[in-house]
């Protein structure tokens, strides 16, 4: 193929997935834009945002890829009702990794900001936010990834090409949305206690 043909094919194949994740990213941005009060109330929260979003993509993208591979190899059936221990183990590992990485991000952000002498919220506040956000977004993303990969596979789509765009799009939106829920919850509990 000539350079032009390669370029046109690559462009056509990528545009739909890029467009879908663009919509998700803008939605996530609107929620983040509406979170300015919370970002001011919890100094250091903005520093956590890229790490939390990337964790969602890394962990649940890998979960989706694992499920897709297991489907291709015939190790699991594409039905939630017939889910076996293999699927439960993969989901449990993903949730565990996601929450651990979120807690690690909160601890590191707190340490680095304290060392730099920047204004930062208490460690307990950041850990609480990371835990609630990691747990809630993990549950929803697992459900989305499993459902989309199974449904896509049953309808004859290659789950490998579905996972990437689905995880980046829903990961951004739910990642930020549950971050907002987590901040409000932790600030509310902190205010009551």
């Amino acid at each position: 193929m000539s350079v032009r043909e390669v370029a046109v094919e690559a462009y056509r194949e990528a545009l739909p997935a890029l467009g879908a994740s663009l919509l998700g990213g803008l939605l996530a941005g609107v929620v983040l834009g509406g979170m300015r009060a919370e970002l001011r109330a919890v100094p250091g929260l903005l520093v956590l945002v890229p790490a939390l979003l990337a964790t969602r993509g890394n962990v649940y993208g890998s979960l989706g890829a694992r499920i897709a591979t297991a489907l291709h190899q015939g190790f699991i059936e594409p039905r939630v009702t017939e889910a076996d221990r293999r699927l439960y183990a993969a989901v449990a590992a993903a949730l565990g990794n996601g929450i651990l990485a979120s807690l690690f991000a909160a601890t590191m952000a707190f340490l680095v900001l304290t060392l730099l002498g920047w204004d930062v919220a208490g460690l307990a506040t950041l850990l609480g936010i990371a835990l609630v956000a990691g747990l809630l977004s993990g549950i929803v993303l697992t459900a989305v990834v499993v459902t989309v990969v199974f449904a896509g596979y049953r309808r004859g789509y290659n789950p490998d090409t579905l996972v990437g765009p689905v995880v980046t799009t829903t990961g951004d939106v739910f990642g930020i949305l549950f971050l907002l829920v987590a901040v409000r919850t932790v600030l509310f509990v902190g205010g009551v206690v």
Partner: protein
């Protein structure tokens, strides 16, 4: 999985620090804050799409690391073309959404300029990072599918924040 995940998390904290460094401008102009997730995400996507395609060509044996290779040039060109078509939509979209919420303070041209400039820089950087990572995987005989994708996605995340920071410094 966990050690790699924690290492990538550290890298992302680095990009978080850059965001923290211009938190003032971001909180003052909500249009810019709206740009953050979508710019990071699109940069990562441009890199990962290119990495996946190069990795497939590499496995099929149709890729050679020559500056005159058709696959290489065509894919690099497509990445820049995708950025040029997508980032104006991102800029205008971010401005429009902030305006609908009645919070905008920046002119649409400023947001468009920030977004398009960041996009073109990021496309070029994504091409460079992906080529270097794919070539390194080839030299060290690693499977590009395992190594290149996470490295490229997370590097592009960090570069996304850095380039956005630079564009905001220049244009806002």
């Amino acid at each position: 999985m966990l050690p790699v995940l924690l290492a990538l998390t550290l890298v992302e904290i680095g990009s978080g620090l850059v965001l923290g460094g211009f938190e003032g401008s971001l909180l003052q102009y909500p249009s810019l804050l709206v740009l953050v997730p979508v710019t990071i995400g699109t940069a990562g996507n441009l890199g990962s799409i290119l990495a996946a395609r190069l990795s497939t060509s590499f496995h099929l044996g149709t890729l050679s690391f020559s500056p005159r290779d058709d696959e290489l040039l065509g894919n690099a060109l497509a990445t820049v073309a995708l950025a040029v078509s997508v980032f104006p939509v991102i800029g205008v979209g971010a401005w429009l959404l902030t305006t609908l919420l009645g919070e905008t303070q920046l002119a649409v041209s400023t947001v468009l300029l920030v977004s398009l400039t960041s996009g073109i820089c990021l496309a070029v950087l994504a091409v460079v990072v992906t080529l270097v990572a794919t070539y390194a995987a080839y030299r060290f005989e690693l499977d590009p599918d395992d190594v290149v994708l996470p490295v490229v996605t997370n590097t592009c995340d960090v570069l996304g924040v850095l380039v956005l920071f630079g564009a905001v410094q220049v244009f806002v």
